[in-house]
Each structure stands twice: as structure tokens, then as C-alpha cells.
């Protein structure tokens, strides 16, 4: 069965490209959100298996979104993404409830699989 994904990112251009990439890699894109609050709602309503979550969002941070989604029963796997480097966030990514982190420029089917299978960061 195809894994369902919700993309939370405030840049529409990135969302379009990520959607194409995910579909090509065999994922089902269940929905998109442009800010943190609607990202939390989308994750609760659509119950995807994976949430691709930008760290820098216009309203609340990706860390906060991840924390809220993770409080729900049977939460999805959360993968943080950012155009910045993981080191820009110090130890916060490791302390967050996300499954892993992918730098946006390095987003690919392989990177996604690696994180989801626990072999990536």
C-alpha cells in the first residue's frame, strides 16, 4: 500500500516540487498546509503516516507543531525539513519528537526512506 504524506511548508513552490517528488517515489500526498496551525489540523484530520514538516513556519515553529502532533494517539512519523542545516538548530532536532531531519536541498526518495527506516539522521 502507498504511504500517505502531509506536507507542511510555507513556500508553495517547494510544496509543488515535493509533491511531484513524493508521488514519483510512490507516496500518496494526502494534503498540504502552509502554516503550523493548519499543519496540526491536517495531521489530525487526514491521519497520514508521514508528516514532512518545515522547521520555520510563519506562525509557530516546526518543533511546536511536532510536539502537538505527537501528543495525539498513534501519531504519524514526523520528518523535519529546513533550508538551513541541522547544526543551525543545535541539539533541538535530537530533543524533538521528530523521526529525523532532512535538509531541503537533499530531499529525495532515498533520503526519505533512510529516515523512515531509521538508517538516516
Amino acid at each position: 500500500m502507498r504511504r500517505s504524506v502531509v506536507i507542511v511548508d510555507d513556500h508553495a513552490g517547494f510544496r509543488t516540487q515535493a509533491r511531484a517528488l513524493l508521488i514519483a517515489a510512490g507516496y500518496e500526498v494526502a494534503g498540504e498546509a502552509g502554516d503550523g496551525e493548519s499543519g496540526v489540523r491536517a495531521a489530525r484530520d487526514l491521519r497520514p503516516e508521514v508528516v514532512l514538516l518545515d522547521v520555520q513556519l510563519p506562525d509557530i515553529t516546526g518543533f511546536e507543531v511536532a510536539r502537538r502532533i505527537h501528543e495525539d494517539p498513534d501519531p504519524p512519523a514526523i520528518i523535519l525539513i529546513s533550508s538551513r542545516d541541522a547544526t543551525d538548530y543545535g541539539g533541538r532536532i535530537a530533543r524533538s519528537c521528530a523521526r529525523g531531519f532532512i535538509c531541503k536541498a537533499e530531499l529525495s526518495a532515498g533520503a526519505l526512506e533512510a529516515v523512515l527506516n531509521g538508517t538516516g539522521r
Binding site: 516540487q17 515535493a18 520555520q56 538551513r84 531541503k104
Partner: protein, 580 residues
């Protein structure tokens, strides 16, 4: 009428009640005209005291005059058949003469000036208190018989005829010593006084000196003025003279002579070089207004600054209402300063003091102007730094939202093309090269954006930003921070650059195996310490970036210290005021 005036009126009515009530209580005991004279004496002191409090707030003379009335009439209330009242009346009544001497010696400024004056006055108070307390404790009217058929209802703790006789003898004859001492103090004061002072003090001193003479004669006369007509005459003469003292004083207050004498003191005081803030305190003493402020005019601009060069706004000029009033001091038709004072102060006195201090004010104004300019330079330096920070944040944001996002999208699109199964080998290789180049460009751009301004600082504050610095540092860093709230942007940015530059220096020059970063807030200061265990020997003067840091820290009013003994590691310590 202001609240202060109402309070004074209430005080006046209450003390007048004290006087008249006291006479009423004791009226059954003496001849009627003595009561009238007594009440008049009290009322004249009360009136003058209240007027003094009103016109010269902060001057001790007013309260002293009212105190004379309160203690003086306590004795009358002591005629009530209430235990302890007569004793208290006796002791407090004895203080009257000492208070009178106090007023005379402290007039007109309200303060004693020489050690001799203090010694003389202490002798007055000590004699009055000592003899009256001993007398009250040892005199037992019931066992020795009550004079004039009147017995106070006072329990006598240690009845002792010898002791009470001794106390009353000392009290009666103390004038033989105290009178001449007092006259000597007054004489010395006269010799030191300026012409203006002498003019304003003449009437008071004549009255007081005559009183002193009466007091000395009275000490030799019979101790019972009621049965000895000569002693009675002296006593009445003394009372009339005493009534004259407050009247003379009130007249002195209402005329401008007294003001001139106080201002005369000010002129003398201003001849000496003034310590910082000395002008304000000299004026404040002269005018008897501890809350007095001096605002200086900046030439050619219609604004006012404090002696420290900080902006001051003058209270509204409509007289009467506000809690403060401003009196502008002019020189050659130009405003140089404004005295901001209690509206109860005599306007003529304030103007006179301002005029007398003119030269000192003009000097102080120049200093204040320089300080104001320095303050302006400091503020503009801070604004420049802040504007720079703002611009850097904007550039970083634009890079992040614009070019960086486009490059990322482009890189994703190229990656997908590269992974198309339909593409031929040559195209795949070319696309893979392009992807790699693009990835490199994105990474460089990211690095550049971070160098321009760390977004995490704006978004998350200092501790996460420092944590990220520590994470990227090549030397192990331990961060300790007690910071729990966000600080103003200039403070955060300055602190971040201090730590980031210090860590960069450690990585480049220190050969250290570890760094400690400590961030604490205390007493309104953010305190940063970056210390390593490296080779030391860093010189803030030589292009180590430390000089730039120092400029940056002082632009927000902070200080930077570097201790870097050779072989002893380097310690960078910055203190930044949090309200910068």
C-alpha cells in the same frame, strides 16, 4: 488650595485647640490676665510656625516653633486629674527654653553651623531634660505638702527631698551658665554674618538678647513669680518679649530680607569649586526644597537637559495647580536653566537664588551641554548598530525566502529529471553534475546567510542560538545559561556576536581543548563569559576582532574585558545593560 495647605490649616486648628484647651483646663489656678498673655504667646508662635512651614518647606524653624507651643502647653494639660499627665507636662514644659534657644541659633537657615553652637544647644536640652526628669521622679507633693493647695496626681517613684531640691535649684540657676553661653554663640554668629544677614537678623537678636537678659535676672530673683511682684513683672516682660520673637520672625519671612540672607549664604557657598551635583544640593539647601531639580537649556534649541545630559521636561507653566513649578533663570536675556521646585516656595526667593547662582549655573550648563552631546552620540551609535542589525536580518530573510527557496526547488526538479528512467546516460551525467553544483551553491548561500545574521537568534533567542554555535564549534563547548526570557534585540544581537566572535577566536588561535560559555543576568545586566583553556596571549589591540567587539558592546552601553595571560587561557567578559 493645595492638599499641603489644607494639611497646614488642619495642623494650625489642632494646635490652636491645644493652646486654648490647655488654658481652659488651668484657668481655675492663676490670675486671668496671665492666661490671656500665655494664649497670645502660644498663638503667635503657632501663627509664625505655620507661616514658616508654608513659605519655607524643609526649613526646621517652622516645626521648631510649633514644637515650642506643643511642649509649652503640655504643662497646662497636666492640671487635669489624670495620672502621669502632670509628669509628662513637667518634663515637656522644661524643653520650651531649649527649643527657643534652638530657634534663635538656627535662624534663618534652620541649621546650626558650628560645633560651639551644637555644644551650647546640647547643654540647653541636657539641662532641661536632666533636671525635669530627676524632679519628676523624686518630688513627692503628697508627702511634702502641696503648694497653693494644688496637688498633681503623679505617683512619685523615688521620693527624695534633697534630690528634687537639687534638681529645681539647678534648673533655676542654669541660666547663670547657659545665658552667657547662648549670648556668646549669638555674638560669634553676628561677627561671622554678612551685612545682609546682619540686617535680617537684627530685630530677632535684639528680642532674644533681651529675653536672655531677663532670663539671667530671673535666675537671681525669687523662684515664685506669683508671690513676688518684681519676679512677676520680669516674667510678664519675658512673655511680651517672647511674643515678639515669632512676630519678628514672621515679618522677616514675609519680607524679602530673609531670602536675601539665605541667598547671601549661597553666594559664599558657590565661591568654592563645586563637586558633581553640588550646585543642585546648594540650591536645594538654600531654598529648603530637597526635591529641587535643575534643568539646563541647550543653546539654540528649545529643550532642557539634566546635569547628566539626559532630557528633562519642564512642568506646565500655569501657576498654582501642578505639583511642581519651573522658574527660568536667564542671563543676558537668554534662558540658561530652569529650577523645578515645590510651588509652595516663595517665587521671589527662587528667582533671587537663581540669579545669585547665575555664573555657577552657566558653567554647569556648559558641562550639561557637553554631556548631552555625548549622550546623543552614544544614542546615535546605538541607533546605527541597531539599523545595521535590522538590515542584516532583512537581507538574511530575503535570501532565505527568495534565492535559497528557488535554488532548493530547482535542485529538487533537477534531481527528479536526473532520476528519470527514460534519460540517456550522457544527460544523466550532466544532470548529476548540475545537481552537485547546485547543492554546493545552496550550501554556500546558507553559510553566507548565517554569517549575515543567524535566523535562530531572531526566532528562538540567545540560548538556542548559542547552543547552535556550540554545536558547530570545532572545540568542545559547554554552555551554562540562566536566561529564561527574551531580551531586547540589540542586547541579544550584541551578546550573540560577542560569543560567536570569541568562539571563532578560540578555534583559530587558542589551541584549546575546551571552552566554557556562561550567560547570567543580574542587577539589570546581562553577563557573558567565554573562557578557554588554551595558550592565552590574545591582544585586544591587534586585529583579533576584539576591538570591533569592544565597539559593538560599548554602543549598547556595555563593557568588554579580556584577560589572556600567556599560557593561562583566555577569558572574555562582557556586561551589557539589559534595558539598552
Amino acid at each position: 488650595m493645595t492638599r499641603r495647605r489644607w494639611a497646614l490649616v488642619l495642623l494650625g486648628v489642632a494646635v490652636a485647640g491645644w493652646i486654648i484647651g490647655g488654658e481652659w483646663v488651668s484657668i481655675h489656678r492663676d490670675v486671668p490676665e496671665d492666661h490671656l498673655l500665655d494664649a497670645l504667646l502660644g498663638l503667635s508662635f503657632l501663627g509664625a510656625g505655620v507661616a514658616a512651614l508654608d513659605r519655607r518647606p524643609g526649613n526646621a524653624i517652622g516645626p521648631l516653633m510649633i514644637a515650642v507651643v506643643v511642649v509649652g502647653f503640655f504643662g497646662n494639660w497636666g492640671n487635669l486629674p489624670v495620672p502621669l499627665l502632670p509628669t509628662l507636662g513637667l518634663v515637656s514644659g522644661a524643653l520650651g527654653t531649649a527649643l527657643l534657644a534652638h530657634i534663635a541659633l538656627a535662624y534663618p537657615g534652620g541649621r546650626l553651623r558650628t560645633a560651639f553652637e551644637r555644644v551650647v544647644l546640647s547643654a540647653f536640652y541636657a539641662t532641661a531634660l536632666g533636671t525635669s526628669v530627676v524632679f519628676a521622679l523624686t518630688w513627692a507633693p503628697r508627702s511634702f505638702g502641696c503648694p497653693h493647695g494644688w496637688c498633681p496626681w503623679t505617683p512619685s517613684l523615688f521620693p527624695n527631698q534633697t534630690a528634687s531640691d537639687m534638681a529645681s535649684w539647678i534648673s533655676d540657676h542654669a541660666g547663670i551658665v547657659l545665658g552667657p553661653l547662648f549670648l556668646a554663640a549669638i555674638g560669634l554668629r553676628w561677627r561671622r554674618a554678612s551685612r545682609a544677614e546682619r540686617r535680617s537678623l537684627t530685630p530677632l537678636w535684639v528680642a532674644v538678647s533681651m529675653l536672655a537678659v531677663v532670663y539671667v535676672i530671673g535666675a537671681f530673683a525669687s523662684r515664685d513669680p506669683l508671690s513676688d511682684p518684681f519676679a512677676h513683672l520680669l516674667w510678664e516682660l519675658g512673655v511680651v518679649l517672647q511674643i515678639g520673637i515669632p512676630i519678628v520672625f514672621a515679618w522677616g519671612l514675609l519680607s524679602s530680607r530673609l531670602a536675601r540672607s539665605a541667598v547671601g549664604d549661597l553666594v559664599v557657598e558657590l565661591e568654592r569649586p563645586l563637586p558633581p551635583g553640588g550646585l543642585r544640593s546648594a540650591l536645594s539647601r538654600t531654598l529648603g526644597d530637597p526635591s529641587l531639580q535643575v534643568a539646563y537649556a541647550i543653546q539654540g534649541e528649545s529643550r532642557w537637559v539634566s546635569a547628566e545630559g539626559l532630557p528633562v521636561s519642564l512642568p506646565a507653566q500655569n501657576a498654582g495647580s501642578g505639583p511642581r513649578r519651573a522658574t527660568v533663570v536667564e542671563m543676558d536675556g537668554e534662558p540658561v536653566a530652569a529650577l523645578i521646585h515645590d510651588p509652595a516656595l516663595d517665587a521671589g526667593l527662587v528667582r533671587a537664588a537663581g540669579a545669585a547662582a547665575g555664573l555657577a549655573i552657566a558653567n554647569e550648563r556648559l558641562r550639561a551641554e557637553v554631556r548631552a552631546q555625548l549622550e546623543e552620540v552614544r544614542a546615535s551609535r546605538q541607533r546605527i548598530v541597531e539599523a545595521g542589525d535590522r538590515e542584516r536580518r532583512r537581507v538574511e530573510r530575503n535570501l532565505h525566502d527568495g534565492a535559497q527557496q528557488r535554488l532548493i526547488t530547482l535542485s529538487l526538479a533537477l534531481g527528479m529529471l536526473r532520476d528519470q528512467p527514460a534519460a540517456d546516460l550522457a544527460m544523466r551525467a550532466a544532470l548529476a553534475d548540475a545537481c552537485a553544483e547546485l547543492k554546493q551553491a545552496t550550501a554556500e548561500l546558507r553559510e553566507m546567510a548565517r554569517g549575515i545574521h543567524p535566523a535562530i537568534l531572531t526566532e528562538e533567542g540567545l540560548p538556542p542560538a548559542v547552543e547552535s554555535l556550540a554545536y558547530r564549534s570545532t572545540v568542545p563547548v559547554r554552555v551554562k545559561s540562566d536566561l529564561s526570557t527574551r531580551l531586547p534585540e540589540p542586547v541579544e544581537a550584541t551578546a550573540y556576536f560577542v560569543i560567536s566572535e570569541s568562539l571563532a577566536n578560540v578555534a583559530k588561535y587558542a589551541h584549546a581543548s575546551g571552552v566554557h560559555v556562561t550567560i547570567t543576568t543580574r542587577d539589570g545586566f546581562l553577563r557573558l563569559e567565554v573562557s578557554d583553556d588554551g595558550i592565552g596571549g590574545a591582544d585586544p589591540g591587534i586585529g583579533s576582532g576584539l576591538l570591533g567587539l569592544e565597539d559593538r558592546v560599548s554602543a549598547v552601553g556595555g563593557t568588554l574585558r579580556v584577560a589572556s595571560p600567556r599560557g593561562g587561557g583566555t577569558r572574555v567578559l562582557a556586561e551589557i545593560p539589559v534595558d539598552a
